[in-house]
């Protein structure tokens, strides 16, 4: 990141460029990553609602489960911004999200 001096920063620590948190890749903070089992997921949207980041992506991507159930959309994780808090896994009513340690051992 560019090392701005005190003269270069907007006064008062104001953030004058809206939405720039996108550039801050907070995914590196994660110790556990949520992984969605697309066959078990019932597309209820609860993880999307609860994610504080928000790092659950709601995509117009059709998916057919192994059981033959067809969905118009898919939920995926934005791993660039997911901090691994685990709220999605905790709230998932069908336990379709598992938290997997980022570092093995």
């Amino acid at each position: 990141m560019m090392r701005l001096t005190w003269r270069d920063l907007p006064i008062g620590g104001f953030v004058i460029e809206p939405g720039n948190a996108r550039n801050n890749l907070t995914g590196t903070w994660r110790t556990e990553r949520p992984v969605i089992d697309q066959d078990a997921c019932i597309r209820c949207r609860i993880c999307w609602m609860y994610c504080p980041e928000p790092a659950i992506l709601e995509l117009n991507k059709p998916y057919t489960t192994r059981g033959g159930k067809k969905y118009d959309m898919t939920y995926e994780i934005d791993y660039d911004h997911c901090k691994g808090c685990g709220i999605c896994a905790h709230e998932c009513p069908v336990k379709a999200i598992k938290m997997i340690p980022e570092v093995g051992g």
Binding site: W6, L9, I11, G12, P18
Partner: protein, 402 residues
Amino acid sequence: MLGIREEIVKERLGLTSNYAAAYAVKTVDVDVIAAYPITPQTTIIEKLAEFVANGELDAEYIPVESEHSALSAVVGASAAGARVFTATAAQGLEFMHEVLHITSGLRLPVVMAVPGRALSAPISIHGDYQDIMNARDAGWIMIIASSAQEVYDSIIMAYRIAEDQRVLLPVMVSYDGFLMSHTTEPVELYHEEYVRKFTPRNLSRYRLDPRKPITVGVIASPDWYYEIKYQAVHALRESKQVIKEVHEEFNKAFGTNYDLVEKYMVDDADYVLITYGGASSGNAKEAARRARERGLRAGVVRIRLFRPFPADELVNAVKDAKIVAVVDRALTPGDVYEGPVFSDVVSALYSRNIEKPVISVVHGISQRTMLADDFYNLYKMLDEYAKTGVYPRSTVFLGLRS
């Protein structure tokens, strides 16, 4: 000079400093007032409530549940672009202390009036400057007025200074609790059009606006905090030049004679008292007159701008004096000397390579009566110290029963 006053003065009223503050706030047309009553400030916000209720002032008036909330509410309104006002004193100023730092850190041009009062315990509603001196490191511009007229004029100037794009810092206008806040003096109020012309709104500063979103009040990691805090430190130091400019323009537009420090008979003075506020400065001037009648070359320097500290102006004013005393109406217990402004004066002199005896004097705590004779005796003491070369190396507590 007289010509200008005839044109701009609308009326001459008998007003307390608190009412003078309220009239100034009305005339600069503030948008949002949030306040919580506390002695000796309450009559300011009562008067403002009356102006709003009567339709004389078109402002949002937010009665809040504490001083912490009062300053927080005007911080929010100021961040949204409003011109704001609040007032407090003593325990109230202590209670809003953390928000004082937030206001300056966020660079919000809040203006606040503070008639100074002693701090508990023991409980005291009476005036001194303990509360104000406790706020001195909060990054605000601090002006100390000495008359009701000066309070009125200073609040008008405060908006112009605070909102200057080069400054963008909060301004505190303080004065003596009770001895000024509740004392009626003649005050000349100006026609609104002249005051409004002098205090145009800064429409180009950043503000919270859903059409052009920004974030105010972020967390800064150690990578950024130091730089952002230094900006505010730098802005306060550099604001002195803007404050000077605003004083010059105000003097020209309103026919007044304000400066960062007020000098009274100091040009040839051997003995100088450095004071702030109304009662100590007034008594010191009377004492200087009496001392001069008795052959002592006495003078007074009153500090009007307290933060940023006018070091050069003060040093220039006292550099030829033989001996100087700083009269504090506040305390810094446990410090090398127990008068807070004394320390500022000594470091100002030392940093400019001026070596001379400086005496630390404390008086007027919780409005302990300060007599002109006390100050006259101080001049006599200075004369004696100058002759003997022996002077006190600890704070002199005047008016204390001992």
